[in-house]
């Protein structure tokens, strides 16, 4: 059995969203089974099935480095505080 990740898209401008996963012997059978597992009540009008072995997974260590770099998370508050301080000094 292979594991497939299921992505569904509702009609309109919504993006594809992960709906869950399922097991099937191959991709053709997965299409048949996905219909009843995830789309019985019109939850979407488009579906992607991705064989889990085809997913490229990123090492969590590679992602963890960014949390130690607060200057990359500038939300503007430091600049706003500095401008406020300068305004107050000027007045």
């Amino acid at each position: 059995m292979r594991t497939y990740e299921v992505f569904l898209k509702r009609p309109g401008k919504d993006e594809f969203r992960h709906a869950g996963s399922l097991q099937a012997v191959d991709s053709e059978m997965a299409k048949i089974l996905a219909r009843d597992s995830y789309c019985r009540r019109g939850e979407g009008d488009q579906m992607w099935l991705v064989d889990r072995t085809h997913i490229v997974e990123v090492d969590p260590d590679l992602l963890a480095t960014t949390v130690d770099l607060p200057h990359r998370n500038n939300d503007g508050s430091a600049v706003a505080a500095r401008r406020k301080r300068l305004r107050e000094q000027a007045s």
Binding site: M1, L22, Q23, A24, V25, D26, E28, M29, I32, L33, R35, D36, S37, R40
Partner: protein, 254 residues
């Protein structure tokens, strides 16, 4: 409810009872399927069949009486075929019956698309969309399991058990000739049975499944219409289970 001739009612009754029985038999697999995804798919197919039965009963049974009609008739008053009634206690039997029945069902609906009966053609067109999926599901499942030697021999044993009653699905309903003449249905059971039997024999050959040649040859031999008046041996137990809840309080409004 529309005005229907006696022949039309008899024709629809036989088809509705077949759909009711197969839907209920399939539904027995709720929670017992070989894996969760298949459990969901098979039970969804069961619900589709019960939906078809309801839509057909609705054409000739007064609203409000359908539950009692469907569940509480005397066994002798049902007109279902042996293939639909058959108890299939193992998954291989259920799968083989699903394959044989659904390929026949698709042909039966296709012969109703051009019906002269109001609304029946539209219902048939809608049901055919379900049946395309059902047939695909059954065929793909069988194709895949027969790749395994042990599974193949189980499917062959199941075929030996189910094929002898398979052609019962083509038992003509009472008065079928009149129904055809009136335009209720565009093709007789006998002519549909020939198409179906060729289709099944081709699939059996294609999959290399070993079956008794006489059984394969006899697939288009129709039982007489009177056999729809008789139930299979295990029917009483099944019938009791169908009416178990409604019998608790037959006057309850659900």
């Amino acid at each position: 409810m529309i005005e229907l001739s006696e022949a039309a009612k008899a024709y629809l009754l036989a088809f509705a009872d077949d759909e009711h029985m197969i839907g209920s038999r399939h539904a027995n697999w709720i929670g017992l399927g070989p894996f969760l995804e298949e459990d969901l798919a098979f039970c969804s197919i069961a619900q589709d069949e019960l939906g078809h039965a309801l839509a057909l009963y609705d054409m000739f049974v007064p609203t409000g009486e359908i539950d009692r009609f469907a569940l509480l008739r005397e066994p002798a008053d049902y007109r279902s075929c042996a293939l639909a009634e058959l108890e299939c206690p193992t998954w291989d039997l259920a799968l083989v019956r699903h394959w044989l029945y659904d390929s026949a069902e698709a042909l039966r609906w296709s012969a109703l698309v051009g019906s002269e009966v109001d609304d029946l053609g539209a219902l048939a067109t809608q049901a055919l969309r379900d049946e395309a999926f059902h047939a695909q599901h059954a065929e793909m499942f069988v194709e895949r399991v027969v790749g395994d030697r042990a599974a193949r021999s189980r499917i062959e044993r199941a075929l030996a058990e189910v094929l002898p009653v398979a052609s019962s699905v083509w038992t003509p309903p009472d008065g079928e000739e009149t129904a055809v003449a009136e335009g209720v249905v565009t093709r007789s059971s006998a002519s549909l049975a020939m198409v179906w039997a060729d289709q099944i024999r081709t699939q059996l050959d294609g999959l290399g499944l070993a079956v008794d040649p006489q059984l394969a040859q006899g697939l288009d031999e129709l039982p007489p219409a009177s056999t729809r008046h008789h139930r299979i041996n295990q029917f009483d137990r099944f019938h009791t289970s169908l009416g178990e809840v409604i019998s608790l309080d037959p006057s309850a409004i659900w």
